[in-house]
């Protein structure tokens, strides 16, 4: 195949401070801006019943003030410097970033080193944030598909905490205390459980020295609890149904899939692309989805059976999910849809894809890769994600692994992971259908 994707313009610099903080530096030529991220290896995965949602709530509290940066100051100062910032929580991590003009880099380093150790968790702020978190959950509940996703996720795991999701159960959100939150913070928000990533137009020696000055004196955590539970191999199909007022019938089907460290993830990424197009590598999905030639689009969307049909596979520390979902058009019978989907899955298991189809999928991923390289925020996002979920992997060669995937690999992973007895099937059936 004739492709020409430029390799990253500069090598990745990886260092570790004495307190255990991993530092990844990716200097780039180009615009005078930088994106600085701190990733903590804590998320829904590290929660137990009674404190579900605590990682996400802790993330919010890190915007609510330290002695030197009172509540609101972080947003104010970064915005006033012309930067953007955010924080978010996922099953495997909690992360914060600032993207700003390069001459404002110190502000990002000050903020992140300060809140790694000095967040106050003021009881009044905890109380008002409880309302905000609960209304965030209620905002999600306004989307009927939220309930479907939550139920399917829960049914997909009967042992591993991934089944709990991230936002937390309403009962836990009503009861979690300031002490619970502070303990969580002190346990997990430490340099030896964190990764600092910087991408942008900077001098690496100078930047590393500044990071060391800001973060070098923060004490490591004496003990970061590990997650012991391993999800056992599924023993048969699981099914759930949600009845809610909803505009369309929606299906969600999950298969337990391997962890990011597993050699099969490149082939699963190509399989996902063959099903429903190449997904962006960029932060917040900028770049758009490609793939109207994909199998699902042709079979389900072009034919009018579904308003949308997609698949997703994301990289995770422990085995997570390969997910297929579809929003049906009103005249489509759910059973008929499922039997057509089963045919598609069987075809993936029984026959290798053709060369043209394979090459098309790989080319989509190469293009998404090139698109993500345009943004320092996206570059830092990818480096940090991979450093959390599969630290032993080289982030610059993941695209090479994808280019090496064969039709036999794709068929083999479909046979291995996408089998009926490893799946969970969920349906959102509008409640008005039953009345």
């Amino acid at each position: 195949m004739n492709v020409d994707i430029a390799p990253p313009s500069t090598p990745l610099i990886r260092k570790t401070l004495d307190n255990g903080l991993t530092v990844l530096l990716r200097p780039t030529p180009g615009a005078p801006i930088a994106s600085f991220w701190v990733w903590y290896r804590v998320g829904g995965r590290n929660e137990v019943p009674g404190i579900t949602g605590i990682s996400h709530w802790t993330e919010h509290m890190l915007f609510k003030g330290t002695e030197s940066l009172p509540a609101g100051e972080i947003f104010r100062r970064v915005s006033a410097a012309g930067g953007t910032l955010n924080g978010f929580t996922w099953i495997d991590y909690t992360t914060y970033f600032e993207t700003l003009p390069i001459d404002q880099l110190d502000l990002a380093l000050e903020i992140e080193s300060d809140r790694m150790i000095n967040a106050r968790f003021d009881p009044d702020e905890v109380a008002s944030e409880r309302t905000v978190i609960i209304s965030e959950r209620q905002g999600n509940e306004n989307q009927p598909t939220f309930f479907l996703r939550e139920e399917v996720n829960a049914a997909s795991f009967h042992a591993h905490p991934y089944g709990q999701g991230v936002i937390g159960h309403i009962s836990d959100l009503q009861e979690i205390t300031r002490e619970d939150l502070y303990r969580h913070y002190q346990t997990y928000y430490r340099p030896n459980n964190a990764i600092a990533v910087l991408a942008g137009n900077f001098d690496p020696d100078d930047a590393f020295e500044r990071i060391q000055q800001r973060f070098g004196s923060i004490e490591p955590s004496p003990h970061v609890p590990s997650v012991r539970t391993v999800e056992p191999e599924p023993q048969g199909e699981r099914r759930v149904t949600i009845n809610r007022p909803a505009p369309n019938r929606v299906m969600m089907m999950t298969f337990l899939a391997p962890a990011a460290s597993h050699p099969d993830v490149a082939a699963l990424t190509v399989l996902d692309t063959i099903m429903s197009g190449g997904k962006p590598f960029s932060f917040s999905g900028a770049g758009g989805t490609i793939g109207r030639s994909s199998r699902f689009y042709r079979r389900f969307v072009s034919t009018g059976l579904a308003a949308g049909a997609g698949s997703s596979f994301s990289l995770s520390i422990d085995p997570y999910l390969f997910t297929i979902s579809a929003t049906l058009n009103p005249d489509t019978d759910p059973e008929e849809f499922e039997s057509q989907l089963d045919e598609e899955l069987e075809r993936l298991r029984e026959q290798p894809c053709g060369d043209a189809e394979l090459n098309r999928a790989i080319r989509q991923l190469q293009a998404q890769w090139a698109y993500a390289q345009e943004s320092v925020t996206s570059q830092a996002y990818w480096l940090g994600t991979l450093a959390v979920v599969a630290p032993e992997r080289n982030p610059d060669t993941f695209i090479d692994e994808i280019e090496a995937v064969t039709a036999q690999d794709v068929q083999r992973v479909a046979q291995t992971y996408l089998t009926p007895d490893r799946r969970t099937v969920g349906w959102l059936i509008p409640s008005q259908d039953n009345s």
Partner: protein, 441 residues
């Protein structure tokens, strides 16, 4: 490497690297189309961007031309990529996917945009697909039915969304019946069901014309090469789009409010609107700084601070100044627990009135202007954002040196001008308010 950057305060003596801003280059070809790009400053040129190329083609037509068939412009635009120049959807999709390229279309009130993104080496091939879609769409009947079903499904989902419904209700109240912005651009179940293939063909013939169209390019394709490509692929296309008459609207004499409910919801959404200025109005910059302070800056400005942070009653509350080419709309959106709706509306109004009375604090003024000035380089990072910026500058007649003048425009604004603009344009006693919340039977 070290930059001589000065701290981002509002006073600058020496231009730093982040001060270096590109010029817009524009070439008008014989049929009236304008090819535009940013001429990069060599100190800030982003090398890695050259792997990617973006074309953004904007036609001067949109859903304001729908007439008595709401949704017609949107429907026509959605059909463009479903078959053109004798190639069906499947063939086009295979060829674009085999390049990893994207081709997308959007229909606004006054504009129709077609955008491509590809690896730079494939730019010409991908431009060919964009041109075919705009000039020679086939409107295959089977695809007409599929797009109709998708639009109807989208309408049903919007009917089920508290936020979408609140915004729609507010807009329908602000723009009276008969105004081109009264109807939803996505149409209604009745209108979308009734549109047939000949309506789409007629809309295409009438509205899709090259005169004054803007082709913005960015990334690994240079201006002269882009002009040559546009002349080659589009130079023989001629025609002028229909005039669009957009009247300004007056706000109601006093505050109006409409409440609706939806079953199965837990949160209420509210939309508050006020007709506002267009992009070329002399108050635009002062009012956008006022809006930034009121409902955008940091975590949504004073509204976020009051409604979300201090009172903890909303997950979000923010404002937007939508200053269009002809008319504008100022909007506040908030998502709140149903029992807090009245309190949230009162406190939003109190915040806006407070700003109108006292104006920005010294710090708010410095923060807001610093934010606008500092964020300029971030907004020009990717090929997509460069093309969009160049296109917007030309669309709004801002001048080719706009980016170079922009800092001075912002620095010259005084707190008094900002306060005056807010007083003139943010009269909360004439708001239109729509609330959609849970059905509590």
């Amino acid at each position: 490497m070290k930059y001589e950057g000065t701290p981002m305060t509002t006073e600058h003596d020496t231009p730093s690297v982040s001060e270096a801003m590109p010029l817009v280059r524009e070439t008008r070809i014989d049929n009236g189309m304008r090819v535009v790009s940013l001429v990069p400053d060599k100190r800030t040129a982003n090398k890695s961007a050259s792997d990617v190329a973006v074309f953004q083609l904007r036609l001067m037509a949109g859903s304001a031309l729908d007439g008595d068939m709401p949704g017609l412009g949107r429907f026509t635009t959605l059909m463009l990529s479903r078959g053109s120049a004798g190639k069906n959807l499947e063939t086009i999709a295979e060829e674009l996917d085999s390049l990893g390229a994207t081709l997308g279309f959007g229909c606004g009130r006054l504009t129709i945009d077609g955008t491509t993104k590809s690896l730079a080496a494939d730019a010409e091939v991908v431009l060919g697909y964009l041109v075919d879609a705009l000039r020679k769409p086939d409107f295959p009947q089977d695809q007409v039915e599929i797009i109709r079903a998708q639009m109807l499904s989208g309408l049903r989902q919007a009917e089920n969304s508290t936020r979408a419904l609140a915004n729609r209700t507010m807009r329908e109240m602000v723009y009276p019946e008969g105004h081109p912005f009264h109807n939803r651009a996505s149409g209604t179940v009745e209108s979308v069901s009734a549109i047939d293939r000949s309506d789409l063909i007629a809309f295409h013939e009438r509205a899709f014309q090259p005169d004054n169209a803007i082709v913005a390019v960015a990334g690994g394709i240079d201006h002269d090469a882009a002009v040559a490509l546009v002349e080659q692929h589009l130079g023989d296309w001629t025609g002028t789009p229909p005039e669009i008459d957009i009247q300004t609207v007056d706000p109601p004499a006093e505050l109006r409010r409409h409440d609706d409910t939806l079953p199965g919801k837990t949160q209420a959404d509210l939309a508050m609107g006020l007709p506002s200025i267009n992009r070329e109005h002399p108050d635009y910059y002062a009012l956008s700084v006022a809006n930034l302070i009121i409902g955008r800056f940091g975590l949504y400005g004073r509204l976020g601070e009051s409604v979300r942070e201090r009172q903890g009653m909303a997950y979000y509350a923010y404002s937007q100044l939508q200053a269009g080419k002809r008319v504008g709309l100022w909007v506040v959106n908030a998502g709140v627990a149903p029992e807090n709706v009245d309190r949230a509306i009162d406190s939003i109004i109190a915040e806006v009135n407070g700003f109108n009375e006292g104006g920005p604090t010294e710090r708010e003024y410095a923060d807001a202007t610093g934010s606008i000035l500092g964020s300029l380089p971030l907004g020009l990072e990717t090929s997509g954002s460069q093309a969009a910026t160049a296109g917007d500058i030309v669309f709004h007649n801002l001048g080719h040196d706009y980016l170079q003048r922009y800092r001075d425009i912002i620095r010259s604004l005084t707190p008094e001008q900002i306060t005056d603009a807010a007083r003139r344009h943010l009269d909360t006693s004439r708001l239109t308010v729509a609330v959609v919340g849970p059905d509590r039977e």
